[in-house]
């Protein structure tokens, strides 16, 4: 199980993530890159703020990677998440999965981002011109 899991307030480095995940045993890499959109539900977003409960978030991300290794024949998993203030176009999350055959990489990558959004203690605040809101906090 070869994983690289990080939370950082520095800009995420796409190329370095891809370089880490590539290996001569792997024929396919699937990468998900989240980016900050300029709008949500038709409302203009000025910026986002991400806050993490870091030690627990790392632990939960490790659990997700472990589950993915059990479910699929994948060789390398990278999860990088950013914290702090992000502008439009910035990258809050990069997930990269390498496997010998591409189906496993696609399935695992999608599983990891879906599960991360459900279980990992990280919170996103959307900042609009006229206010701000913690996403998903209220029904």
């Amino acid at each position: 199980m070869d994983t690289q899991i990080e939370i950082s307030s520095e800009p995420l480095k796409t190329q370095a993530c891809i370089d880490w995940v590539m290996s001569p045993q792997c024929g396919g890499i699937d990468i998900f890159i989240g980016t900050v959109r300029n709008a949500t539900n038709g409302k203009n977003v000025v910026k986002l703020e991400f806050e993490a409960y870091e030690p627990m978030a790392i632990k939960e991300m490790e659990k997700i990677a472990e589950q993915a290794f059990k479910k699929w024949q994948v060789q390398k998993i990278l999860v990088h998440h950013r914290t702090g203030i992000l502008e439009i176009g910035d990258i809050p999350v990069i997930i990269a999965v390498a496997s010998a055959h591409r189906d496993a990489a696609f399935d695992a990558c999608r599983y990891i981002i879906n599960t991360l959004k459900q279980t990992v203690p990280i919170w996103k605040k959307e900042i609009f011109e006229d206010g701000e809101v913690w996403v998903a906090a209220h029904p």
């Binding site: 409960y53 959004k117 990280i122 919170w123 996103k124 913690w134 996403v135 998903a136 209220h138």
Partner: protein, 80 residues
């Protein structure tokens, strides 16, 4: 016993602080802490949901809390 509770996201706004101290009976369960917090901070009940974490693991209602534990309030997550 006095327990320090970490707060994140909207819970931090509700508490007005990144952490608060609460007085809890020895070996109380997570559920008792939730009741106590909701009484003191009724806005917690307006959240879509929230969990407690004990030592970086999601707690069940019957999880016991001891004085050395790191306890946190986890409002609905929204990472990614």
């Amino acid at each position: 016993m006095q327990i320090k509770i970490l707060a994140f996201g909207i819970a931090k706004d509700i508490f007005g602080s990144a952490n608060i101290n609460v007085e809890l009976r020895n070996n109380a369960k997570a559920e008792e802490l939730k009741d106590l917090l909701e009484e003191k901070y009724p806005k917690l009940k307006q959240l879509a949901s929230y969990m407690l974490a004990i030592n970086n693991e999601y707690a069940q209602n019957d999880s016991p809390i001891s004085i050395t534990d790191e306890v946190a309030v986890i409002p609905p997550v929204s990472g990614g």
